[in-house]
Symmetry: C2
Subunit: 349 residues, 2 copies
Amino acid sequence: MALTAERVLSIQSHVVFGYVGGKAAVFPLQCLGYDVDVVNTVHFSNHAGYGRSGGTKASAGELNAIIESMEFNELLAPTRLLTGYVPGAEGLSAIAGLARKLKERRPEMIYLLDPVMGDAGRLYVAADVIPVYREMLPLATLIAPNWFEVETLTQVPLNDLASLQRALRILHDEYHVPNVVLSSIPLKPWLFEALPQSIRPTDDSEYLLCISSSSTPNSTSIVHAQCVPLLPGYFSGVGDLFSALLLAHFHPGTQLCGKEETPVSYAASHALSKTHAVLCITHQHSETLPEEERQPTDDEKDASEPLRRTRRMRGRELRLIQGQDIIRGTSLKDCRRLQPWEAFWDLKA
Amino acid sequence: MALTAERVLSIQSHVVFGYVGGKAAVFPLQCLGYDVDVVNTVHFSNHAGYGRSGGTKASAGELNAIIESMEFNELLAPTRLLTGYVPGAEGLSAIAGLARKLKERRPEMIYLLDPVMGDAGRLYVAADVIPVYREMLPLATLIAPNWFEVETLTQVPLNDLASLQRALRILHDEYHVPNVVLSSIPLKPWLFEALPQSIRPTDDSEYLLCISSSSTPNSTSIVHAQCVPLLPGYFSGVGDLFSALLLAHFHPGTQLCGKEETPVSYAASHALSKTHAVLCITHQHSETLPEEERQPTDDEKDASEPLRRTRRMRGRELRLIQGQDIIRGTSLKDCRRLQPWEAFWDLKA
């Protein structure tokens, strides 16, 4: 394990039970040698998927009081910044101000902005955070949106290759984001058809695609991609774990072999492989639970019997602790390396 | 590393920067294979030793809202409970109610109560928490007070062997605490004189003594002890780290070799050795810092130049991340095993 002198300032949600937000991100970063300063934007009993949760959101005033004291005490000196779920625009604006200050003070600070807004077509933050995120994008070194968040930020529905190209161009050119990692986009036929042979899956299972795109000074971006099998059912905190691992493995100073790998495709390969391996042991574990702990989603039954949903959620919490050797492992078995997608920008939809 | 199916509910303070309270306890427990549910009793920028900190305390109402939602969602099923810093009596009473309920529901649950109240003669909680802690003591499987907290709980000033015996008797017999670990008591001459030869240090350095005492059904308790060199200056979070490690290594079902070792002396040996090793690398690191980062305590100068104190504190934050191999290591080099103190109860002061 590399022991770095690096310090991450992580700003996202806190839940008492289970692994989303900071609970999914901080432990992996610590295992990989980072000191982590942990700002909690909410303090909840559990994630929202359970249907009921207790706790409070940190107000913008509370966040600012913490930030000001850290400033006063000279404790605001992270080498990396990671921001995730912030529930409202006022709080997010406080974080935006902090990010701006830190970036001005230390331009080489690596900022991974995870614009956590929603998933699968559903927004789970107040809509007024969207313009704040757009303003923050130019501060980011890399962003890790899911496909819905890309659509929300760029206002481009991703339904063919041309729209994917357009969305990436907007993020790189209009919002000046140097590195974009689209962590998981369903591998629909239009996307499958566009993929180079080297990346296409060879069986009929369902797959997700991970895409990294790094802008270059004088041309279109360098694009890499890799597929990963979709595991059945929904797991919470996956994006938060992925982003933490992406940040942990991102080493922009490192010499890599030309177009075969960029610092961000390298980091995405490790994040993708480790996240998938943790998901596999989580899925395996959930399969061993008694039947009442793993009743499939059924909106009607879930509504009439809330514990049905609660128990399913509990059985699908990420097995981070049991998977810590996966997270720590520097030599990955089955590393799913992102492959160059050289013709990406030449393709016409 | 043993991967357990055990889950710790940890209830203590949270700081953004540095390692006290939950930040000192949760990561070690996770490294040692425990899932940890994390309730934060305060959300501060940094520990109080910096002189200034920003943030808020969780109210009893906020704590109860979280506890109730966890109850509703069937998420209150820890195999172990760890409670530390809770700033006020109302919040502590909420925690006491929770501890009582959990213990009734699962009598074999291991409860490590760390009655965090103060240090070195100074109380840093509201005085009205003291009677609440006294009421909670009978719920505990083990407690880990420092000498000042023993004095506060028992109202016995520890100034000779008779008073130490009296204090332990009060904790075991009046408060029905089965296991007491006195993590660090200065090895004053009266204590040195009382120690068996096997435990006495052989040089003139300053030492602290760690004492474990386990009650037995039909007689006085079994006492073990070990010395550890005192490192210069003050480090924060040491007690919180020690308690977490004590809990992590406490395995009451395990067969041990009679009076040579009890489950609690075994756990204290590991907690003491690992905590000391982490302190050593923390001390070594602080010695490498530039001079302005390690100005010795001087109340007058510290008052006129607050950053003097801040910088000293920052340079003395526990090196938990850099010491994670120490925490994880199952085979300890230089394990300071607590030794039987067989004549403890026979000694007259």
